[in-house]
């Protein structure tokens, strides 16, 4: 195929794509005009039915909770798969030479962390952890939930690492405990759903008492519980993933070993 022919082929394909794209655009509803019946129905019914004022959470953890279980296990599987692959590599390495990760951390030759960065990072650890915890436990009254809260909680641990306390980071995040927390979070979500089935209700049916008035922290039944479990799972998964990567970077002589200059490309 000559370059010219290839160009013509591309032109025909591109013209077809543009035509279909414009045609599809013509069929879209006007900007900001949602034509479906589902949105208004949810807005009308969500608070009376679930007692949760965070309607996004009500949708995520109740109306389409089954979908969220699937998403939950995507992250769980990703973190577990990563641990399996990377930990095996680490085991092989440790057989080769008698260095513990902590030794390598101590002896690696990196530029010292600046005081400004250390102080800023350490000052931010507490507030970040608090915001993460708050988001994960207040899904029923906030437009957030366990996922966002969990990631923010995990980033509090990242700040500990960023402040130069890489050994403290490992001590704060023992891998065994994280594995258990991740499994408990993901398994707990599924267990909450199965408990409904055991009572003869649909999977993930909101069977807990809906609590006080809408907007109360105790309101919304299983929604708050599931959000909390998701928060635990997500925080553990993200700390595991970044922890494994950090360990790999520190252990296997990657990057920071000899204060190299950053190459181009």
């Amino acid at each position: 195929m000559t370059p010219k022919l290839r160009l013509w082929l591309f032109a025909i394909g591109a013209a077809g794509l543009v035509a279909c794209y414009l045609w599809a655009f013509g069929g879209l509803p006007g900007f900001g005009n949602y034509p479906g019946p589902y949105g208004p129905e949810i807005l009308k019914d969500a608070i009376p039915q679930t007692n949760a004022t965070g309607i996004v959470s009500a949708v995520n953890f109740d109306y389409r909770g089954f979908d969220t279980v699937g998403e939950e296990f995507i992250l769980f599987t990703a973190a577990a798969g990563m641990s399996v692959v990377l930990r095996r590599l680490r085991g092989e390495r440790q057989q080769e030479q008698d260095h513990s990760p902590a030794d390598e951390v101590m002896h690696r030759n990196v530029a010292p962390t600046s005081s400004a960065l250390r102080v800023a990072a350490l000052v931010l650890v507490g507030p970040t952890a608090l915001i993460g915890w708050w988001l994960a436990t207040h899904a029923q009254t906030n437009p957030s939930g366990g996922f966002q809260g969990g990631v923010i909680l995990a980033s509090a641990f990242m700040l500990v690492y960023l402040s130069g306390e890489s050994i403290a980071f490992r001590r704060l995040s023992p891998v065994d405990l994280l594995d258990v927390a991740e499994a408990m979070g993901a398994g707990g979500f599924a267990a909450v759903g199965l408990a409904a089935v055991a009572q003869g209700l649909p999977f993930l049916y909101n069977y807990l008492p809906l609590g006080g008035s809408p907007g109360a922290v105790s309101s919304s039944g299983t929604i708050a519980l599931i959000s909390f479990l998701v928060g635990i799972e997500v925080a553990a998964a993200f700390i595991l993933i970044t922890g494994e990567l950090l360990e790999q970077t520190l252990l296997r002589g990657g990057g920071r070993g000899g204060r190299q200059k950053e190459g181009s490309g």
Binding site: V56, L135, P143, S144, G145, F147, Q148, V151, I152, A154, S155, M158, F238, I241, T242, L245, L246, Q248, T249, R252, G253, G254, G255, R256, G257, G258, Q260, K261, E262, G263, S264, G265
Partner: protein
């Protein structure tokens, strides 16, 4: 200006910024700079979601797009980088 008009202006500005940010990300060749640009782009995307009234997606995008993904990429780059 009415609040509605203000929102529309903000939405247009956010859309333009996201388009510009995406272009910068695609055009950046140097890896570490690319990750920093990607992080900034995640921030712009979060602002876009916010002015389009999706605060939950804003939080997800901020945490994942602007922080977690660039962090993981930086670690991976740091690992595969050839010693000079």
């Amino acid at each position: 200006m009415t609040p509605h008009a203000v929102m529309q202006v903000l939405q247009v500005v956010a859309l333009v910024l996201v388009a510009a940010g995406a272009t910068v990300v695609v055009r950046t060749r140097q890896r570490v700079r690319l990750v920093i640009a990607l992080s900034a782009y995640g921030m712009l995307l979060a602002i876009l979601f916010f002015v389009f009234q999706a605060p939950d997606v804003t939080l997800s995008e901020l945490t994942v797009g602007a922080i977690a993904l660039p962090l993981i990429l930086l670690l991976a780059i740091s690992k595969v980088r050839k010693p000079e």
